[in-house]
Structure formats: structure tokens, C-alpha cells
């Protein structure tokens, strides 16, 4: 029944969608009186032209891998977890508590501990909407949106209250103890005098993120749970008939999803800021949606899409620095990517399918 070969579905359609998004973005840049070509060159130079640029690109990509995986896992069970933002906020809280109140002897132990706390907090924040969806039928999109706002307010409340440094006016926790410092790429790639990635925030968390991609791939395509999860996503009634409990699948999927979103915090909270500040997530939870859509919910696709968005983020920051194009241009590009790869998927797919059908008929 497949009209198109698999490569067209996996590679061609996302590619065309991205090109459409890129073309429209270029038009936007043109409309505000800048040159798209110069802008692209600046972005490539700024994000990929030096190890410093790469350090930022990979740092952002690490965030997006986690949130992208979070959205992807939920997509496989046909759940739309729009609450990655709030879950990442709570993950940050977990990391902060782990780093501040447990005396870690070594960073590796601190990393494991922070991972667990981040995942637990993120999962807990996803658990309530998941439970309400599974047991009371409340729409998970709406509840997770609400939980994003509640998370932001909760963090705000804690950072101006219980977690604030006494005497300080800034809504932030104390700086984490030095033992929790994660090795940055600068620490790791320092060969006899030549230092790579100097001053960039990319850190060991990137490898955790790549490992998470592999783990999620294995979970979805190589385990019984993953099979159940995908069958539930394809047809709820068929899954039920096969003895798969919808409650269990919704709960487990959302716990994994929330845990992944929460784990983003080891990158931005423990790895970069080394303390918890307001708005530490910076919209990465939402970018996860674009990343998952573009990566076709496959961990490898998510990795590539996250790298692309890491490039866009770092490149966008460079643009804002050197031209009059504001940083918000990246949000426009992100919106166009979501629009074309997500909502307008059929607009690209339908003509392509017709084309492939015509080609097949011509062959016969």
C-alpha cells in the first residue's frame, strides 16, 4: 500500500519541507532589508567556523536532543507532550537540589545523581497530566500546557523564596559546589597547549544525550514495551484487543518522556550555569516539538535535527550580534519548520505521492 519508497518518506519529504521553511525565512530576511546570503554566511561562520562556535552549537544541540527525544517518545504512542518546557524546569529543580544538598565526592557520581533527580522530577511533572489522560480522559495537550505555566510559577516562587541565597536580590540559587562541575569540552579536548572549544559551554552531557538516543532507539524498536507503545500509537483499539493496557502505556510513555525532558537540566543547569536561574530552559522544551517533527520521531533523526537547531540557535545569536536582525528570527524559522514538517506535511506529501504513482504507472 506504500505509494512512495521509504527513502522518499524519510529523507525527501523532510528535505523539501526544510527547503520551503528556509525559502520563507530568506524572504523574511529580505523583507527586513538584509541579505539572506550574507546572513547565512554569518551563521555558518559563527556556528561552525570555529571550535568555539561548535562548542555553542553542540551545547544547544544537547538540550534539543533531550527535549526532541521527549516529544518523539510521546509521538510514538500518539500522545502530544507539549509540556517539555515545564518538565525541563522541574528537572532543573531536581538537579539543583541534588547538587546543592548532597555532598558529591566526584563529578561522575554527581552526574549520575543529577541525572536521576532530573529524570525523576521531570517524570513526576509529566505523571499528573498522564494520569489525568489515562484515567479521566482529560486532553493531555491542554493539561501539559497548564502545567508549563504552573511549573514556571513554582520555580519563580522557590527562587524568590526558599532557594534564594539569603541577602541576595537575584532570583537564583547559590552556585553549586566545585565537585559537581562537569568537564566541559574545553577541559576534555586540551592537547599539549592547544585548547579547543575555549570558553564554550558544551560539556560531557553531550555524550549522555547521544547515549540517550541509542537507549531510546533500543527501547522503541528492540523491547516489548516499545512494541506495545508503537502498537498503541497505531491503533488504540487493536492494542487493547491484544491485551495492552492503555493506562500503563500512557503512564510509562509520559514518564519516559517527562524524564527525558527533565534530563535536559544536567546540560543547562549543572553543565553551563552551575546554579539554577529563572527561565533556564529558554524555550528548549518547545523546540523539542520542531526537532521531533523534523527528525520523524526517530532518535537518529532527532540527533540530526537537534544539530540543525543548535546551529540555528548559535548562528542566530551571531546574527543578532553583528546585524540588525533580532534573535527572534530563529523563532520564526522554528515556527516555519513546525508548520511545514508538522502541520502542512500533506501539502508536500500529496503531490509527491501523485508523482511517484505516475512514475510507477509509466514503468508498467
Amino acid at each position: 500500500m506504500d505509494v512512495m519508497p521509504k527513502w522518499a518518506d524519510v529523507i525527501l519529504i523532510p528535505l523539501i519541507s526544510i527547503l520551503l521553511a528556509a525559502m520563507l525565512s530568506a524572504l523574511v530576511i529580505l523583507a527586513i532589508g538584509e541579505s539572506p546570503w550574507a546572513a547565512l554566511k554569518l551563521m555558518v561562520d559563527g556556528a561552525l567556523g570555529s571550535t568555539y562556535g561548535w562548542g555553542y552549537t553542540l551545547y544547544y544541540a544537547t538540550n534539543f536532543i533531550f527535549t526532541g527525544l521527549a516529544v518523539s517518545v510521546a509521538f510514538h504512542a500518539r500522545l502530544f507532550n507539549i509540556g517539555g518546557e515545564g518538565q525541563a524546569v522541574l528537572g532543573g529543580l531536581g538537579v539543583a537540589l541534588a547538587c546543592l544538598y548532597i555532598p558529591w565526592p566526584h563529578w561522575s557520581l554527581a552526574l549520575i545523581g543529577a541525572c536521576l533527580m532530573a529524570a525523576a522530577f521531570g517524570a513526576a511533572w509529566a505523571a499528573i497530566p498522564a494520569f489525568l489522560q489515562a484515567k479521566r480522559g482529560s486532553h493531555i495537550v491542554i493539561t501539559t500546557i497548564m502545567f508549563n505555566f504552573i511549573a514556571a510559577a513554582l520555580l519563580n516562587y522557590l527562587l524568590i523564596g526558599a532557594l534564594k541565597v539569603p541577602g541576595s536580590m537575584e532570583p537564583a540559587t547559590a552556585t553549586f559546589p566545585p565537585a559537581t562541575h562537569l568537564p566541559s569540552f574545553q577541559d576534555m579536548f586540551n592537547f599539549g597547549g592547544t585548547t579547543f572549544f575555549r570558553g564554550a559551554p558544551a560539556n560531557v552531557t553531550f555524550f549522555v544525550a547521544v547515549a540517550a538516543c541509542v537507549a531510546i532507539w533500543a527501547l522503541i524498536w528492540r523491547t516489548r514495551l516499545g512494541y506495545e507503545l508503537r502498537s498503541f500509537g497505531h491503533s488504540e483499539s487493536a492494542a487493547k484487543y491484544a491485551g495492552i493496557s492503555p493506562t500503563k502505556i500512557i503512564m510509562v510513555t509520559m514518564l519516559v518522556s517527562g524524564g527525558l525532558a527533565g534530563m535536559m537540566a544536567i546540560n543547562n543547569v549543572q553543565g553551563e550555569a552551575e546554579r539554577l536561574v529563572l527561565n533556564a530552559v529558554e524555550g528548549a522544551g518547545f523546540i523539542g516539538i520542531a526537532v521531533a517533527l523534523m527528525g520523524r520521531s526517530h532518535p537518529f533523526g532527532v540527533l540530526l535535527a537537534a544539530l540543525l537547531f543548535g546551529f540555528l540557535y548559535q548562528g542566530g545569536a551571531e546574527l543578532a550580534l553583528w546585524t540588525s536582525i533580532p534573535r527572534e528570527l530563529i523563532i520564526v524559522i522554528q515556527a516555519l519548520v513546525i508548520l511545514f514538517t508538522g502541520a502542512l506535511d500533506n501539502m508536500v506529501r500529496m503531490p509527491l505521492e501523485r508523482l511517484f504513482l505516475a512514475m510507477r504507472r509509466a514503468k508498467q
Binding site: 523574511v28 523583507a31 527586513i32 532589508g33 502530544f80 507539549i82 499528573i128 489525568l132 479521566r136 480522559g137 482529560s138 486532553h139 495537550v141 491542554i142 493539561t143 500546557i145 497548564m146 502545567f147 505555566f149 504552573i150 510559577a153 513554582l154 519563580n156 516562587y157 518547545f286 516539538i289 517533527l293 540588525s324 536582525i325 533580532p326 527572534e328 528570527l329 530563529i330 523563532i331 520564526v332 524559522i333 522554528q334 515556527a335 516555519l336 513546525i338 508548520l339 508538522g342 502541520a343 502542512l344 506535511d345 500533506n346 501539502m347 500529496m350
Partner: protein
Amino acid sequence: MDFATLLQMLDATLRLATPLLLACLAGLFSERAGIFDIGLEGKMLAAAFMSAAIAAVTGDVWLGLLAGIGASLVLSAIHGVASITFRGNQLISGVAINFLAAGLTVVVAQSWFRQGGRTPQLSGDGRFNPITLPFADAIRDVPVIGPIYFELISGHTILVYLALAMVPLTWWILYRTRFGLRLRAVGENPAAVDTAGVSVVGLRFAAIGICGVLVGIAGAYLATALQAGFVKDMSAGRGYIALAALIFAKWRPWYALYACLLFGFLQALSLRPDIITGVIGFRVNGQFLDVLPYILTVIILAGFVGKAIPPRAGGQPYVKER
């Protein structure tokens, strides 16, 4: 709390509830026709920017209002093409629209006005100004009724009265006209509507068109009446609160009014923490009041206070052959 303060609070409630109410009714039309719209926030923001920008350039707030509605309609059209014509995911389309508006408003504002993503301050005819209802000055000194009429009922901008008038009008359209019946039917069972020979696509486009106009007015109200100009992210989650109010109201117009007044009152309260402390004797955290609408909605959604059942065909694209 004395009588004057109470009136002040209720007055603020009305002003803050107006954008919520307009957006909520907008969402009501859309969702009753089976199109989920989480892009209310983005449309409101786009309308706020365009209305403030055009009002600032031309000095005419009515042109601004039209431009705001136009911007909102363009985003509505994108939503319609994505979710009706190409049967895409309505939620994803809504998310895209929210980001599109959040990004474009700032990019364009910076390009047009170079004031860090805001529009110039509006004044005079560039804003909707309060209108004093007839006899307000005359009966101002009558006890109780006078202040209520003068402070609370009179002295709002025309959009506030428009929003209030939209409530009975929406009710009338939905429950007393043929169009309304078909609109509700297309949100519950589009196949039946199609069988009756009425265009599902046409009805749904009409619904999101109405939605675009209403939420456009809401956005224009934000930038040209409640405040004097556009600032980055000025919708500040109001589109989502309107969605929450819509669920709270269980997709019914009169209840939408009550829900929006309640949420507007909460917003008014969080602006005046001194009053809360004065009335109940201890400090309530401002953040708590800000998120109370969301918490209440989650509780409603959980079904602890009556069940909120959305339109049955909501969120599903209609495929004729099925």
C-alpha cells in the same frame, strides 16, 4: 476593603476580562466547529502588533483595529489551510502559529520602528479612549447606584461593551440560527452534516474566520485600549487562559462570560496584593493567583467538578470518503 476599592477592583476585572472574553468566544466558535485552536495566543499577539503599528503610523485606531483583525485572519487562514484543506494536525498547526507570531512580531517591529521590538507609544486618536455613558455625570452623586454606574459601567472603551455584547450574540447565533445549528453539528458529527448536503469545509472555514475576527479584536484591545502600544510577548499567556476559560465554561457562551470574569478578577487581584492582605489577613503569593486559572482548569479537566466534554469531532480532520 471599602466600597470604592471594591468598585475599583471590579472595574479592573472588567478591563482585564475583556481580551480573555473575546479570545474565549473566538475559541468557542472554532472548537464548536471541531477545530482545536491553541493558536489563539499567537493570533492575539499578531493582532496586537499590527493594530498598534498601523495605529501608530496612521494615527487612526480604527484602521489599527482593522489591520489587527487582518493579521489575525491571515494566521487563521494558515490554520485553516493546514488543518482543514491539508488535514494536518490542528494542535501542531496551532503551536506553529504561536511561534510564528512570537517571532515575526518582534522581527518586524524591530525592522519598522527600531525600538527594541516595540511600537511607538500611542496617544489621542491612536487609542481607544474611554467613553462616558449618558447621564453618568448626572447621577454620579446618587448613593450606591451613582458610583456603580459611573465607575463600573461607564467609562470603558467601546471594545469592552462590544465584548460583552458578543456573549448574547454568540448564544443567539449558536442556538437560534440555522448557521449555529450546523456549526455545532459539524463539531459533533461532520459526516451527518455532509450527508445533509452542507459543506463541512465551508462551515469550518467560516468558524475559524469568525474566530480570527474575534481574537483579532482581543489583540487590538490589548495594544490600543488596555495599554498604549505593543511590547514583546504582550499577550502574556492570555490566549492560553482563554482556552482554559473555554474548558471551564464547557464550551458555552454565558459560562464563558462567567469564567472570563472570574479569571479577570484573579488577574486584577494579583495586581493588588495589598487588598488581599487587607481582606483575608495574610499574604497570598502573587504567583499563586497568576496560576490559579490553570490549576482550576486542571481540576475541572480532571472531572472533579463536573465533567468537561469537548465537541466530539474536535481535532479530527474530516475525510469525505471514510
